[in-house]
Symmetry: C2
Subunit: 357 residues, 2 copies
């Protein structure tokens, strides 16, 4: 097979060996002579998958005791509402940092439930940076932020200081670098970047955060219900959880989050260095806020875009067209994207400079 350099922004590249195991289990899972797709979620074999997946999250991220790990459905988009309804008190308030499209959507869903205070926003600069100075209101029930802004290519390099419970949508950088879970009260993330395929959503939640809103919460949106039922209140998304488990096993076997963080740093340095060096390209976000996951850039001369597009396509690179809200290019470099794929893109940029510079 021709090697595709898969820069998809999510769902995104997964390790070949994970895909191989994932493919085999669709035919014969655990030597049961049954497919992973056709066994009961209450079978011993699937309960083991769920338990393993949860244990791997806890181990890889050093989740302290007092936190629960859940694999649910609905994507991070349902997480916007779930995080708010589980934590914002009746007549309470949520504080938000607005750093991109996803933050804005989280804000929109929270507003349905009560008062929302946007304490800082980079919207007026087309989200090209991370706000550094803001005051966290002591009377809000929580502070919510988006750790990595998938569309614009900015990333928090430090965890916001907060005296109130901290909630983070970590969809696009979870498992890409070490984090200190104890600083958070809730983390949620759609699986389809560094965890696995689309179809499940991870929640890491401090148990004592919950049950304090005075709200009546629908069962499927109630994190306490899911904690009590160990993510089996209803039929879980079996296959997305299974493949996430395989992918987390792969991460652990290779050295865990610390190991991948080193590689992710190398990849980011390589590509950003070329963007800066090469007169034909420039980055679009503040350097100090650059994302290691989603590298956004533009041509200095837009009229060359057709030629550049032809060049990277010829090199079997896929998925670097920028999101429709941001334009330009976006190279998403999630965990499974190898350094050689980044080198392939850099090579294209350098060759392009020679012929079009």
């Amino acid at each position: 097979m021709t090697k595709v350099h898969n820069y998809s922004a999510g769902p995104c590249i997964l390790p070949q060996e994970v895909l191989k195991q994932a493919s085999e289990a669709v035919i014969n899972f655990n030597n049961l002579n049954l497919s992973i797709l056709e066994i009961s979620h209450r079978s011993k074999d699937f309960i083991e998958v769920m338990d393993n997946a949860i244990a791997l999250v806890k181990e890889l991220l050093n989740v302290p005791s007092g936190y629960s790990v859940l694999f649910l459905q609905g994507g991070a988009s349902l997480g916007f509402y779930i995080s708010a309804i589980n934590v914002m008190k009746k007549d309470g308030k949520g504080a938000y940092l607005d750093t991109g499209v996803w933050s804005a959507k989280a804000i929109k869903e929270a507003k349905r439930l009560g008062s929302v205070e946007v304490i800082a926003s980079s919207k007026d600069k087309n989200y090209n940076s991370i706000p550094k100075s803001f005051e966290v209101p002591g009377d809000a029930d929580y502070l919510h932020y988006t750790s990595n802004n998938t569309i614009y290519g900015t990333q928090f390099k430090t965890v916001p200081q907060s005296s109130i419970p901290l909630i983070c949508d970590m969809s696009s950088d979870i498992f890409s670098k070490e984090i200190d879970v104890s600083k958070y009260d809730m983390i949620y993330a759609g699986a389809q970047k560094n965890m696995g395929p689309a179809g499940t959503t991870l929640y890491i939640v401090k148990d004592e955060l919950l049950g304090k809103t005075g709200r009546d919460i629908p069962s499927m949106l109630d994190l306490q219900v899911h904690i009590e039922k160990e993510s089996m209140f209803n039929t879980p998304p079996v296959y997305p959880i299974y493949v996430s488990m395989l992918n987390l096993q792969w991460l652990k076997k290779n050295g865990g989050v610390k190991w991948i963080e080193g590689i992710n740093n190398q990849k980011a340095e390589l590509l950003y260095a070329e963007i800066d060096r090469n007169p034909l390209f420039k980055g679009i976000v503040e350097k100090e806020d650059r994302s290691n996951m989603n590298v956004t850039f533009v041509l200095t001369d837009e009229s060359k875009s057709e030629a550049f597009d032809a060049a990277w396509k010829a090199a079997n690179i896929s998925g670097i067209k920028g999101h429709r809200s941001a334009g330009g290019y976006r190279a998403s470099m999630y965990n499974a994207l190898p350094l050689e794929s980044v080198q392939a893109l850099v090579d294209v940029m350098q060759a392009f400079e020679k012929t079009n510079g």
Copy 2:
């Protein structure tokens, strides 16, 4: 491989040829040299999958114009709440038929939103039958029922007469027999019986039913939002939808819902005839309400259960232990379960009669 007779109640057996295609696509989808798990849901190739899946539902069930078909997340359990919040007016009312655990759960979630009238229930008879006489209140916003009661093994043989909009949880018998969609205003169903693997939920909804509640509905629970975005408001559960599409292609190729209905009738007749004939077994629900999908029965002499369990296990039969709420045995005979698997169970019952009668 030893053939397993897979009677799992859901997630459940899928056709071997579907599993084969599903397995291959995890390695190389559409000859893209990419896995179905690692492509963008906004790629041309996946949009085609989504479009095909929707078209197959429309074709197989003869969905009239004016209805939308959606593939969402959350399972039928989120469907309990979604159906109510999208249709029950503020200060309105929902009418419910209570025919089992799943109906009761639907009722519980609807009560969070307003008034609920349970117009008939078979609960006092441990849900062993389908209520036949009930009056549908003209002032309710809708009537909700569960077409097939997966746990107890009862099934509606006719569509309830209703002068108000009719909503049906069809999780465990959709695609098993012909239905007249025009009688319904909303149908919803978890995929993991006759449609595909766990992880997506089908909605078939009459467009004009929606937008009349006066409620503010969270985006991810708002069927109008999903209709407008063609099930792509957020990242859909790519693989469960893909495998559902393959499975619906399989159904169409073989003759569609009419074809499978004939086979399902044969399977049900074979097993119920043996239950009735064999003095060691008896059914637990009213004969006229017996489900063609989930056949529940008990031993006439419970002390023989250990011996019977050993006998069916020895015959490579799996998954016929009854649900914890109902006890006894439950043979789930979804579309992909072949007649020969039913014959294998009947053979075990007959041999058991010879040795233990």
